[in-house]
């Protein structure tokens, strides 16, 4: 399958992503969504310097495309409202300060349109005029390309980006469940079922297909969760709020951090794919970290941590390096001539040598 050197195909650029996260976290700490505040931080960091010093035209074009893609990433969910506002301002800033001869455009994918519209509606209701103004100014300057997907897809697996947990927004799934009136419907169906059962006198005491207090139990659980959310995590800075609190790490994000730390440990043992090996194709998933494999087989994008990783974590174990060594120590000596699979270059060879010397 097609495989190009990563420089040409990466969707994001690591140092730029770090700079952008620095900018956005400074913006987050100001607890404001005003453009004036954002532009002050931009000027203070002299951010437009990121475009200076690229002499080759094609590299400049590539960098501008990557910069705008980075900004769009923070403009869309799952980030919190304030970060999304920062992403929008960043899109505006990058678009107008880029130095490419033909300006790169902001790519909005069809699947993300509903999120953009919702964001604008929230901003309009909260009367954040500068947010709406900046967005409409971008549209009027014809800065947007209406595309299929956020990036150009060439059938190559990308390196997984790290998500900064502090930028994520609080989960709203339960709130939506509550407001969707599903529970009222369920309670209605429950009472209907009860009535029907009472009509059939013979059977009604022998058989019960439902859990009688289902809806009230769910309601209790949900309200417990909400109170916990309120107490454990102070109010999130969203469209309507005007508080001075910081946006903290939430339970979901701390779990996400835990997962990512586990993955970091397992990734740190994996050889970065050298140019001569082609295992970045979509169908060949030869990642040596089990979490990587599971990640790929789950196209919906949810992360599963393997049992082994979880066990290591809970037992306070360290990385897979010791795992590899244990495996090799148990290799029987008659496999002397067999080439060992190179999971980890340094450790196995050492062990093998030790075994040989011991003979």
């Amino acid at each position: 399958m097609p495989y190009l050197p990563f420089f040409y195909t990466d969707f994001f650029y690591e140092p730029l992503t770090e700079d952008v996260e620095e900018l956005l976290s400074r913006f987050q700490h100001t607890d404001s969504v005003r453009y004036g505040v954002f532009s002050a931080i931009w000027r203070d960091m002299k951010f437009s310097d990121v475009f200076i010093g690229i002499s080759i035209n094609s590299e400049m074009k590539r960098f501008c495309r990557v910069a705008l893609a980075t900004a769009v990433k923070y403009f869309l969910p799952p980030y919190s409202y304030q970060i999304r506002v920062g992403g929008l301002y960043l899109m505006f800033a990058f678009y107008h300060t880029q130095l490419a001869s033909t300006p790169a455009k902001i790519r909005l994918a069809l699947k993300d349109w509903v999120h953009v519209q919702r964001f604008l509606m929230e901003s309009e209701e909260a009367q954040h005029h500068d947010v709406v103004y900046i967005y409409h100014k971008l549209v009027a300057s014809k800065a947007i390309h209406y595309t299929t997907m956020p990036h150009f897809l060439i059938f190559q697996k990308q390196q997984k980006p790290k998500i900064c947990a502090e930028f994520l927004s609080r989960t709203a799934a339960l709130k939506e469940l509550q407001s969707a009136d599903i529970l009222e419907e369920m309670a209605g169906i429950q009472s209907h079922y009860k009535k029907l059962k009472e009509a059939t006198m013979e059977v009604s005491f022998k058989v019960n297909m439902t859990y009688p207090d289902f809806t009230s139990d769910i309601n209790k659980c949900m309200s417990e969760f909400f109170t916990w959310q309120q107490n454990a995590l102070p109010k999130e800075k969203n469209a309507g709020a005007d508080g001075v609190e910081e946006t903290p790490e939430e339970y979901c994000s701390s779990r996400a951090m835990l997962l990512s730390s586990i993955k970091q440990k397992s990734y740190s043992n994996v050889q970065k794919a050298s140019k001569s090996r082609r295992h970045r194709g979509a169908e060949k998933v030869q990642d040596y970290s089990s979490s990587g494999r599971e990640q790929f087989q789950n196209p919906s994008g949810r992360k599963y941590v393997s049992l082994r990783a979880r066990t290591w974590e809970t037992l306070g174990g360290n990385d897979g390096k010791s795992n590899a060594q244990a495996w090799l120590l148990s290799t029987p000596e008659q496999l002397d001539g067999v080439p060992l699979k190179k999971m980890n270059q340094a450790a196995p060879y050492r062990e093998y040598k030790v075994m040989k010397e011991a003979e």
Binding site: L16, G36, W42, K46, T102, K111, D130, Y146, F155
Partner: protein, 381 residues
């Protein structure tokens, strides 16, 4: 504000990832375009630029804002607010020192490490810049040649036939832009492959007859394969349906059934494809190229709006060419074997050197050799 609407069924015209950041699920291009146009206002897709005053007036009206607020917005949210240095900007080539940004420090490190004085202006750059200059924002002279607003533009990568002994990777040979109303046959005509120019046969006795036998004219059949459908080129009477052998074979194996269609009757808006997924273009019987549609989007005022220039080439990978063994100046056109005059077997010659060495003034063949017309891989540079 509103509770999230649970969709009754996923809208298949809205492209989704099949594998995240790798490729999408199949979707119909025409319906995709309609979905976008449903969501946008005409002014968003029009080619007419919006001037500042009109924009502000309509914005103020829609949002119900007074002049004071508008004035404040205008001054705070201006492009000037993004200026980080005074009017006397640093020159573009010098990376600024003492910056806190990691991007800048990284770039500075790279620049310092670059020891060679290699000129950054290589051939590829020159050609790419030239292409850019000629096509971006180009408006045609006549109204008929103008691409209409709301048209879709597809970005298609055509790859070299894979040569895995030599290269670890496949690079796109060319990248083309096509509009939705173009047919697949037009895409086929735009693909340049040197195998189309190959001439079969040994021509040492008749060196002047070689150009009459180009493969492109002899073997005109070709097909595209997208999502289980073979699109054959049936424009000429010599074209055969070369996909029928494959279809017959798959029927005997356990494959889902494939169907056929005509290349010249299918426009891009009628296709149902996956973006980012490799498909096939086959011509000359066995010369196969991967085709990947990397992007589909609505046309924009900054694109080349002249329909006559499409299919538009935006990137071409240029290959080193083999030069003549004698003069090292011209690209070789002849390939000789068992040649008593040549320093090596086989040997390449340009036309002039070939004739000078192997034929006398009357055109008689001198000595023993076998000569074949040679088409260099870089013939399309």
């Amino acid at each position: 504000m509103a509770a999230s609407k649970q969709p009754t069924e996923p809208n298949s015209s809205i492209p989704e990832y099949e594998f995240v950041n790798v490729n999408t699920k199949p979707f119909h291009i025409g319906s995709f375009r309609d979905e976008w146009l449903k969501r946008l206002q005409p002014r968003d897709v029009s080619f007419q630029p919006v001037d500042q005053d009109t924009f502000e007036a309509s914005f103020a009206e829609e949002m119900g804002l007074g002049e004071e607020t508008m004035a404040e917005l205008r001054s705070v949210c201006s492009v000037d607010s993004l200026r980080c240095h005074a009017e006397d900007q640093q020159p573009d080539e010098v990376v600024p020192t003492n910056s806190t940004l990691k991007t800048v420090t990284q770039r500075k490190k790279k620049q310092e490490n670059k020891t060679s004085e290699k000129s950054s202006k290589n051939r590829h750059e020159l050609y790419a810049n030239e292409l850019d200059r000629l096509t971006v924002g180009r408006v045609p002279e006549t109204e008929d040649d103008m691409i209409p607003e709301g048209e879709v533009i597809l970005t298609i990568n055509i790859y070299f036939p894979g040569n895995f002994e030599k290269f670890n990777y496949i690079r796109p040979h060319m990248t083309l832009l096509m509009t939705g109303s173009h047919t697949l046959a037009e895409l086929r005509d735009a693909i340049c492959c040197v195998s189309d120019l190959q001439v079969c046969g040994e021509f040492s006795s008749t060196p002047d007859m070689a150009p009459d036998f180009i493969s492109k004219d002899l073997f005109k059949s070709a097909f595209f394969f997208f999502e289980g459908v073979f699109y054959n080129d049936m424009r000429y009477p010599e074209c055969q349906d070369i996909s029928s052998t494959t279809i017959k074979w798959t029927k005997s194996q356990n494959f889902p059934s494939f169907s056929q269609a005509k290349m010249e009757d299918t426009r891009f808006v009628d296709l149902k494809v996956k973006v980012g997924f490799p498909y096939l273009y086959c011509h000359q019987g066995d010369c196969e190229h991967l085709v990947i549609i990397t992007d589909v989007r609505l046309v924009h005022k900054g694109d080349c709006l002249d329909r006559k220039l499409y299919p538009l080439l935006i990137h071409k990978n240029r290959v080193l060419t083999q030069k003549c063994a004698v003069c090292h100046v011209f690209i070789s056109r002849w390939y000789t074997t068992r040649d008593q005059f040549a320093p090596s077997d086989p040997c390449l010659f340009c036309d002039k050197c070939f004739r000078m060495l192997h034929y006398d003034k009357e055109g008689n063949k001198l000595g023993e050799f076998l000569a074949y017309p040679y088409v260099d891989r870089g013939a399309f540079n």
